[in-house]
């Protein structure tokens, strides 16, 4: 026993560790922290394109940039590690700079003995919710190892220029030092719900429509809705959250959408809408133009509205947010959809956007209206 017991214990330990190296022993951890790589000898060899891509993306996920960059096949010498990192971590305070690669699904598009093409769906965790990104990777076989080919990614370069700005701004003079924002002793701006529609969706009931600021001063608005059943009891109450333009300039119209997850409209007798509006200081800058809007079907067969945002001002918009309302041929709002743009919108530059429409509604849509919300670091 004295010789056998340590052998048994060590053998069982090693066996358990080997089993642990399979998926059984793996566990998710925290994200967004450099968390080290596998110990030498424990990372899988890049013997297949799938394995090579997996190793690469795990290094990106764990922010092991040196290892990730060392593992790629560079197309030219001008590709440096800094630009490689920037491609993954974003620049200019865009949404990507806040994002962490959480997981990915890869599938081969085609493969030969010497090269392969893989399509990867990258799942990002961002402050405004999960985002997906589809990207194709080219891999080549070099000296018994597969490598991801990394091309130089062009970085937008804004030339030095002077941008004249001529925009409206509303300042708010506070009555006293002790008074807080929103508690000023002035009348609330006049805002009005101009349309409301309730529909059932796969996730639950949805209440949507449009709201207008009828006043001559800017308003900060929130829309709250309560679903009431036949007995007069509240079923659920939710708010428009980020599916509304909270700051409405005079005469500006914004779509709103309020989701009630796991609630069926069949039980709903009435909908109470509560609009809160407060006078706030506001500015019409930055001006963001919406260009080349078009309803289309994307590569994955989804109905989308896509177009381009053009930053017409002289300041960077870090996170642009697009909210679109879709109308049927009677002018009724049939859906409200939103989407965030991952790259920052540089002055005088444009970025593409796309928002999805449920397939069942795509045929009904006759018209649409897009508004752009934004987060800029220096304005928050």
């Amino acid at each position: 026993m004295r010789r056998l017991l340590p052998i048994i214990l060590v053998a069982v330990t090693v066996l358990l560790m080997v089993i642990g190296l399979t998926s059984v022993g793996r566990s998710g951890g925290t994200v967004g922290i450099a968390s080290g790589s596998a110990l030498p000898g424990f990372s899988s060899n890049a013997n297949t394109p799938e394995q090579a891509l997996s190793n690469f993306l795990i290094d990106v996920q764990r922010r092991n940039w040196d290892r990730a960059f060392a593992s790629v096949e560079r197309t030219n010498d001008s590709v440096n590690e800094q630009s490689f990192i920037q491609e993954w971590t974003g620049t200019n305070g865009g949404l990507r700079t806040f994002s962490s690669l959480e997981s990915y699904d890869a599938r081969p598009l085609h493969a030969t003995d010497s090269e392969a093409q893989m399509r990867v769906r990258l799942h990002w965790s961002t402050p405004v919710g999960p985002m997906e990104d589809v990207r194709d990777f080219h891999l080549v076989h070099r000296a018994d190892q597969w490598k991801v080919v990394w091309d130089e990614v062009p970085v937008p370069n804004v030339p030095s220029q002077v941008i004249p700005v001529n925009y409206l701004r509303w300042d708010l003079v506070q009555g006293g030092a002790g008074e807080q924002w929103g508690s000023n002793n002035v009348d609330s701006p006049h805002v009005r719900i101009v349309s409301m529609n309730a529909v059932d969706s796969a996730e639950g009931a949805v209440v949507m429509g449009e709201i207008v600021n009828e006043d001559t001063i800017p308003a900060f608005v929130n829309v709250q809705a309560t679903l009431v059943d036949a007995a007069g009891s509240a079923i659920d109450d939710e708010s428009s959250f980020d599916k509304i333009l909270h700051v409405l300039l005079p005469k500006q119209v914004s779509p709103y959408r309020i989701d009630f997850p796991k609630v069926s409209l069949g039980k709903v007798k009435n909908v109470h809408i509560d609009v809160k509006a407060t006078l706030v200081p506001a500015s019409s800058d930055p001006v963001i133009g919406v260009m080349n809007q078009k309803l289309d079907t994307d590569a994955q067969g989804r109905a989308v509205l896509h177009g381009e945002l053009l930053n017409q001002s002289g300041e960077t918009v870090n996170v642009p947010h697009v909210i679109a309302s879709f109308y049927d041929n009677n002018g009724k709002v049939v859906w409200v959809s939103d989407g965030y743009v991952q790259r920052a919108l540089l002055p005088q530059e444009s970025e593409a956007f796309a928002v999805e429409i449920p397939k069942s509604l795509a045929g009904k849509v006759q018209n649409f209206h897009v508004v752009v919300n934004q987060y800029s670091m220096h304005n928050s």
Binding site: L4, V10, R26, T126, P127, G129, S239, S380
Partner: protein, 582 residues
């Protein structure tokens, strides 16, 4: 024999060991080194509630209300008692120091079950320098785990004495100390039955069999059962409100990721954090522990207990914890098992020290001292080097004073990017938060239905964390959540798009305050989780009462002086010559 040889051949007096423990950990605790750890503020927060509402375990300050009967109260109640004189922080340090001082005493007494007094004294001395101990005290802030382990180690020799010698006073003291350990931390006691009491029971049976004592094996088993039943009933009574709360509201939340459940082979930093640092120089002793532990039949139960703790401490590196624990695997964190593994190994490490000192004298003493200092030094250095360290401390006083003025405390608040300092804000403000730093007490669906822990750390839990935060923000009006304090610009885009506006900034912009205008004042959230008054009375008297009783029993019922005997089975001469040290 030279004076040096005589010195090395004697056990180190326990008083000397205690003084060393005091000299090493006393200054570190007086410097309040654990203040920046993960859990210290959490323990202080719970203690502050007892300081103000001793008999009312319902705490409105977290999760829009939660019951403190979800966490054994002993250490917090003692902090609350000390705080009347020392303040909360120093009270915490004092209770932690008591735990740290009780540990080498416990290791000494526990080790004497397996090895002689000399090896036991080396084990006790070594336990002061354990990397796992420093890791838990100064980085993790696991006050209750450390204190409970120390109390439990002190209880086990009584269990052994009762089982083998049928000593009535050992039974009483053992049971009361076990109940005190449970009142400090229930998880330690539950798992301690397997990892600590299991080997002790095994050795008691072996001793009864091999030493042909007047008591039979059946007698040992019967007495052990009596002990277990008494402790079981006692724990049921002392922690009665805890069990009622657990039955009423079982922990049904989505599993929350924790890095101690990672595979350390596939993630080098977790390997360093949860294996290299806690074990330190003991890694060099692992071959000896396995070989020496196997060589002696008396040490085998200890070896098996150590091995099992070691495997559990490896978290997701092996699938065994997941297989054996089932769903509990996703709730537990595994660093505590490493502390237990090192404690279980200490008697064998004590034997190693004896062998080394006998053979190499001063050289060995210097080598062991260096190994000990390097181990604790590395653990302390790792506090600042490790990427999982708690966020840098910030000045939260402006946040506290903001919440405590102008009626701001009539609304609820949330912190983002505050890490463990969320609990510091909660301790000193009158306002209530929807967030909190104790996962098992959460009942709000916005938190339990996502695989995320504290909202203040939401981004580290990825999509699940941000979905949980989003759900809470969507229901801000429902909970009266008006104020959000941000110490990480990561969260600013979400707040901006969701309708919050920045209203103030503190500490040169380090912290910003955000507000939402249409939020009504907070109202009490209706729940059936509020404990009745009689339960508060039990909670306020039994746990602390049992600890006072344990102290009285130690003073009033002194233990019998144990006859000197060789309790570690001698190894044959041929074995001794093999010297398992590298």
């Amino acid at each position: 024999m030279t004076s040096n040889e005589i010195y090395y051949s004697r056990p180190i007096p326990i008083l000397t060991i205690l003084l060393v423990a005091l000299a090493v950990h006393g200054p570190l605790l007086l410097m309040q080194l654990p203040s920046g750890s993960f859990d210290t503020n959490f323990h202080i927060f719970l203690a502050s509630h007892y300081a103000h509402h001793w008999f009312n375990p319902w705490n409105e300050k977290w999760f829009a209300g939660f019951s403190q009967t979800t966490y054994p109260p002993l250490t917090h109640q003692w902090i609350a008692l000390f705080s009347t004189v020392t303040g909360l922080k120093l009270g915490y340090m004092l209770v932690q120091l008591i735990g740290v001082l009780l540990l080498p005493v416990g290791v000494f007494r526990f080790a004497r079950i397996w090895v002689d007094d000399r090896a036991a004294s080396y084990a006790a001395l070594g336990s002061i320098f354990l990397g796992a101990l420093s890791f838990l005290v100064y980085e993790a802030g696991q006050l209750a785990t450390v204190t409970s382990a120390a109390l439990y180690l002190n209880a086990l020799p009584y269990f052994y004495e009762w089982a083998t010698e049928s000593s009535g006073r050992a039974l009483i003291k053992g049971v009361v100390l076990s109940l005190t350990a449970a009142a400090a931390h229930h998880v330690t006691l539950i798992f301690g039955v397997v990892f600590f009491a299991g080997p002790v029971f095994w050795i008691a049976c072996l001793d009864a069999r091999y030493e042909h004592r007047e008591r039979s094996l059946a007698g040992v088993i019967t007495r052990a059962l009596v002990f277990v039943v008494l402790v079981g009933i006692g724990v049921g009574i002392v922690l009665f409100p805890y069990w009622v709360t657990l039955i009423q509201h079982p922990i049904h939340q989505i599993p929350i990721p924790h890095d101690s459940r990672n595979n350390f082979l596939l993630n080098s930093i977790t390997g360093v954090n949860y294996f290299l640092i806690p074990y330190g120089a003991m890694i060099l002793a692992l071959p000896f522990i396995f070989l020496r532990g196997s060589a002696s039949p008396r040490l085998r139960p200890l070896l098996v207990g150590f091995w099992l703790s070691l495997i559990f401490g490896l978290g997701g590196t092996t699938p065994l914890p997941r297989w054996l624990l089932g769903r509990a695997y996703e709730i537990l964190t595994f660093e505590r098992f490493t502390l237990w593994a090192t404690l279980l190994a200490m008697p064998i490490v004590g034997l190693l020290a004896v062998q080394l000192l006998d053979r190499y004298r001063t050289k060995a003493a210097v080598g062991l001292a260096i190994a000990s200092v390097v181990t604790i030094g590395a653990a302390l250095a790792w506090i600042t080097a490790n990427p999982y360290r708690p966020a840098e401390t910030m000045d939260v006083n402006p946040v506290i004073s903001f919440l405590n003025r102008d009626g701001h405390d009539s609304y609820r608040y949330l912190t983002l990017g505050f890490g463990s300092q969320l609990a510091e804000v909660s301790t000193y403000t009158n306002a209530s938060s929807v967030d909190g730093d104790y996962n098992s007490a959460r009942l709000l669906p916005e938190m339990t239905q996502y695989g995320s822990a504290q909202l203040t750390n939401a981004k580290f839990y990825g999509t699940a964390g941000m979905a949980s935060l989003r759900a809470m923000l969507e229901h801000a009006n429902r909970y009266g959540l008006k104020y959000i304090f941000v110490h990480d610009s990561y969260y600013e885009p979400l707040l901006t798009f969701a309708g919050w506006r920045q209203i103030e900034s503190f500490d040169h912009g380090e912290i910003t305050a955000w507000s939402k205008d249409d939020v009504p004042p907070a109202h009490r959230i209706e729940t059936d989780a509020v404990p009745p008054a009689w339960m508060g009375l039990l909670w306020g008297t039994l746990p602390v009462g049992v600890s006072v009783l344990a102290m009285f029993l130690e003073l009033l019922l002194p233990g019998r002086r144990r006859a000197r005997r060789i309790i570690e089975t001698p190894v044959r001469i041929t074995d001794r010559e093999s010297h398992y040290v590298a």
